[in-house]
Amino acid sequence: MQVTVKILRFDPEKDKKAHFETYELEADPLDRVLDVMNSIKWYKDGTLTFRRSCAHGVCGSDAMRINGRNRLACKVLVQDLGKKIQLEPMLGFKIIKDLVVDMEPFFDKYKSIKPYLINYEEAPSAERVQSPEEHELFDETTKCILCGACSGSCPPYWSNSEFIGPAAIVNAHRFIFDSRDQGSDERLGVLSEGEGVWRCRTVFNCTDACPRDIPVTKVIEQIKRVMLYNRK
C-alpha cells in the first residue's frame, strides 16, 4: 500500500527551528513503522535520523510520537495506522536531531530514586528467600525498558522540567515493593519532595503510552498510598 509519512525534522547544524517533511512510499501493511523509516533513510533520504536497535519492543530506543501518541516505532504496524503516518520526537525532551532527543535528564531522574537493591544485611550463601506472592507485588514494574514513552506523554512532565516523571516512579516502585529491599525510606523521601509523586495529575497518558503494558498510573497511586497510609 502507498503511505504518506510526515516527519518533524531538525538539523542542529542547519535549522533554526523544526519543520515537517513529507515522504510518499510503498509499504506492506505488516511492516513496522520502523521498517518504513528505514526505507526512507536507506532509499530516499540518508539524513533522516532516529535511534533504533532491537526492532521488537524490548530495547526502548525508538520511542516517539506516532500519530500523536507515544509509541515504539518497532511495535506499531502500518496497518494499525492507515495511510497517513505522522512522526515527531517525544514532547518534554530537548531535540538533538530529527527524532533523536536528549535522554540525559531522563536518566538523571531515574538515577535519583536509587534504582538498585538496597539491603544492609550480609547475603546468605544461596538465594534470599522470596515467596511467589511477594514476587508478584513488583513483577509488573520490572518490565520497564526506560524508553521514556510514559514521561514524554505526561502533561505535568511537559510543563515542568523538574518533575521526576512516571518512569522514575515506576522504577522506585520496583524496589519499594520488593521484600528484599531496605531502601524504601530513602526513595520515598525523594518521591515526597516538591517535584516528586504529587506532581502526578492522574491523566493516564502514561498507562496508554507504555509499550510494556505496565499499569503506570495504578503504580503511581500505589506509591501515593504507601506515603499516606504506609500500606503496600
Partner: protein, 580 residues
C-alpha cells in the same frame, strides 16, 4: 579528545557490565557503549540462565558441563566448560543478591525450568536447570547489572562507536571511538581493554539480532591482527517469527510447547526420540529445514512450521511466556492461545569470535600466546565454551561468568602494570576511514549501502545457513568479493557531524562484510559436519582432521590471509557420537 583510564570496557551489555563491576575500586574504569547500556542486546534474551542449583530436582555441575561439551559437538574446550558449569552457581546467587527478580518456587527458592540439551545424568532425559524471570531473563540481567553500575558510580561513555583497537609494542594500549552525538573522534588510552561488543547477526537476512549487532569489536580486533576463531560456527535458533526472525524462546518448548509441520505431525520425535522438541538448537533447526525441504512446510510457499503452546492454557502462557506470545500477536496477528505460531530458523548467535583463554585474555595464535592488555568476554569472544553449537541459556551464563573473569583478570593486570605510551599516529587509520566515508558525497561514489547490505544478507541467508555445501559457499565467497569492491564506492548523503547515523551504518556495513567473509572462508575449509556447521556434501564428523578450532587471520588488504587450527582441550569427556 584524549582520555586516560586504567581499564576500558567496550560494550555496555551483560558481559561488559559484569566486567566493569569487578573493576570497581580497582582503578579508574570507563564503559564505552554504542547504545545506552539498557538498550544492549542482552536485554533481548528471554528464556533463562542455567546453573546446577538442584532447586527442583537433582542436578550436578558435572552434568551441566557434560551437556555443554556434547551440545558443542565436542569442539568445546573442556577446561572452559568446567569453569562455566561450576561458576554458574555462584554467578546466579550473585545476580540474585544484586536484586534480580527471578521467578520463585512455592517455598521461595529460585524456580528452574527445562531447556534444550540440558539433561540429567549425562543424557537420560530433560532436567530443570534454567533459572528465569518469565520470558525476559536477559532484560532482568541487563537491568540488574546496569543498576549495579549506577550504584557503583561507573563512568559511562554512552553512544560512542568503537573504531580501532590500538596496539603498541605488542600490547593493547587503548581504543579510538567516535562520539556519536558530536561526531568527534576520541582516544581512550588504557592499560587494559575489555571487548564486550556482542555478535554480528545482521550479516543474515532473517535474524533475531538487533540492528546494532554488527560485530564492531570482532572486526576491530581482527583489523589489529588478532585471528577470529571458529567463525563457521554460527547458530540458527529454531524458532524465529516467520520472515522477521524475532526470537521465540526455547522456554516455550521447555514449558511443553511443541513443533508441528503442515500435516500436524510432531516431527521432532521422529528425529530425536529422547529429547524430542528439546534437542539442541542445531539439530532442531536441521529438523525444520528438512521438513520444509521435503515439502511438509506450511503456508502458500510451504516454508515454515508451527510452534504450538495453545495446549498449555492461558494461565501458563500469561505467567511464563507473556512476551513471546505478545510478539506473535503484534507482528504476525496470530493468537497463540488458540493456534500455532509460524516460525523458521533465525540467525541468532556466534559461537566463534575473538579467541581467549579461560581468564578472558585475548590470544593471538594456535599456541595460546596472550596479547597483553586485551580481553574479551560474551558473544564477541570465543573461549571456546560453546564449541560447534551453544546450548540454550549458556550465552547468559557465559557473559556473566567470563565477564566477571575478564574483569577480575584485568583488575590484577592494571595493579602491576604501567601505561605504555601511545604509538605515533595512533588514530591515523580511524581518521582515514572516517575521511573515506565522508568523501562518499563525491561523484565516483555511486553505490547504495542499503543495497550492498541487503545483497550480503540474502546471499548469506541462501548459502551460509543451517545446511551448507561447497557450491553454495563458493558462490557466497565470490558474491562477497563483488560486494567488497562495490563497498569501495559507497555513497552517503549526510555530511553533518552531529548524530550522523548514516555514517555509522556505513562503517558498520564494512564490519559486516569482513565478518561474512571470515565466516564463509572458515566454513568452506572445514570439510566435515559438526554442530551448527552441517555440510550436505560432507555429512560426517571428522575427528581425525577437524577436532580443532579454526583461526582466520586477516591480510593487510582486508581479506582472509590464512587459516590455522588450534587443538581442542579435552579433559573429562572423550568425543562420542552425538545422539539425543
Amino acid at each position: 579528545m584524549y582520555h586516560k583510564f586504567d581499564a576500558l570496557v567496550i560494550g555496555g551489555g551483560g558481559a561488559g557490565l559484569s566486567a566493569a563491576i569487578k573493576l570497581v575500586g580497582k582503578g579508574n574504569v570507563a564503559v564505552i557503549s554504542k547504545l545506552y547500556p539498557s538498550r544492549s542486546h542482552t536485554g533481548a534474551a528471554q528464556g533463562g540462565i542455567c546453573a546446577a542449583l538442584g532447586n527442583t530436582e537433582e542436578d550436578h555441575w558435572e552434568w551441566h558441563m557434560f551437556d555443554t561439551v556434547k551440545g558443542g559437538d565436542y569442539l568445546t574446550d573442556q577446561d572452559a566448560a568446567e569453569v562455566l558449569a561450576k561458576e554458574a552457581i555462584d554467578a546466579i546467587y550473585e545476580l540474585e543478591h544484586m536484586g534480580l527478580p527471578f521467578n520463585r518456587t512455592p517455598d521461595g527458592k529460585l524456580d528452574q525450568r527445562r531447556f534444550g540439551g540440558h539433561t540429567r545424568n549425562y543424557g537420560e532425559g530433560p532436567v530443570r536447570r534454567a533459572c528465569y524471570s518469565a520470558d525476559r531473563t536477559g532484560h532482568m540481567i541487563l537491568q540488574t547489572l546496569y543498576q549495579q553500575g549506577i550504584k557503583n558510580n561507573v563512568t559511562f561513555f554512552n553512544e560512542f562507536h568503537l573504531m580501532d583497537v590500538i596496539i603498541s609494542n605488542g600490547r593493547c594500549v587503548g581504543v579510538t571511538a567516535i562520539d556519536i552525538k558530536t561526531g568527534e573522534l576520541h582516544t581512550f588510552h588504557s592499560k587494559a581493554t575489555i571487548l564486550a561488543t556482542g555478535g554480528y547477526g545482521r550479516v543474515w537476512k532473517v535474524t533475531s539480532n538487533a540492528h546494532a549487532c554488527t560485530g564492531d569489536g570482532m572486526t576491530s580486533a581482527y583489523r589489529a591482527g588478532i585471528p577470529l576463531m571458529d567463525m563457521e560456527m554460527y547458530q540458527f535458533h529454531p524458532t524465529g517469527l516467520y520472515r522477521i526472525g524475532i526470537l521465540l524462546s526455547e522456554a516455550a518448548r521447555g514449558e511443553g510447547g511443541i513443533l508441528r509441520n503442515a500435516e500436524g505431525e510432531r516431527f521432532c520425535e521422529r528425529y530425536a526420540p529422547t529429547l524430542k522438541d528439546l534437542a539442541p538448537r542445531d539439530m532442531v533447526s536441521r529438523f525444520i529445514s528438512q521438513e520444509i525441504r521435503e515439502g511438509r512446510g506450511a503456508g502458500p510457499d510451504k516454508d515454515y512450521v508451527y510452534l504450538h503452546v495453545d495446549h498449555l492454557g492461558k494461565e501458563v502462557i500469561d505467567a511464563k511466556l507473556p512476551d513471546i506470545t505478545d510478539f506473535a500477536r503484534t507482528y504476525l496477528k496470530v493468537e497463540p492461545y488458540k493456534e500455532g505460531v509460524p516460525i523458521q530458523p533465525t540467525a541468532h548467535y556466534a559461537m566463534g569470535g575473538v579467541p581467549t583463554n579461560v581468564n578472558g585474555e585475548v590470544i593471538m595464535d594456535e599456541k595460546g600466546t596472550v596479547m597483553p592488555g586485551l580481553y574479551a568476554a560474551g558473544e564477541v569472544a570465543c573461549v571456546s565454551v560453546h564449541g560447534a553449537n551453544r546450548l540454550g541459556t549458556n550465552s547468559l551464563v557465559d557473559l556473566v561468568v567470563f565477564g566477571r573473569r575478564a574483569g577480575s583478570q584485568a583488575a590484577e593486570y592494571i595493579k602491576t602494570t604501567d601505561f605504555e605510551s601511545l604509538p605515533a599516529n595512533h588514530d591515523a587509520s580511524s581518521k582515514d576511514l572516517i575521511s573515506w566515508v565522508n568523501a562518499g558525497t563525491g561523484q565516483s561514489r555511486t553505490e547504495n549501502a542499503a543495497n550492498i547490505r541487503k545483497e550480503l544478507q540474502v546471499e548469506m541467508q541462501q548459502n551460509v545457513q543451517v545446511v551448507r555445501d561447497e557450491k553454495g559457499m563458493s558462490h557466497a565467497m565470490s558474491k562477497i568479493a563483488e560486494l567488497k569492491e562495490r563497498y569501495q564506492k559507497v555513497k552517503i548523503q549526510d555530511v553533518s557531524s552531529k548524530f550522523n547515523t548514516e555514517r555509522l551504518e556505513t562503517l558498520e556495513l564494512g564490519s559486516l562484510i569482513e565478518l561474512a567473509e571470515a565466516t564463509t572462508k572458515s566454513a568452506l575449509e572445514r570439510k566435515e559436519s559438526r554442530g551448527a556447521h552441517y555440510r550436505e556434501d560432507m555429512l560426517n564428523r571428522d575427528d581425525v582432521n577437524f577436532l580443532a578450532h579454526t583461526l582466520a587471520y586477516r591480510s593487510d588488504d582486508g581479506g582472509v590471509s590464512r587459516l590455522a587450527y588450534k587443538p581442542v582441550v579435552i579433559t573429562r569427556f572423550q568425543p562420542k557420537e552425538r545422539k539425543y
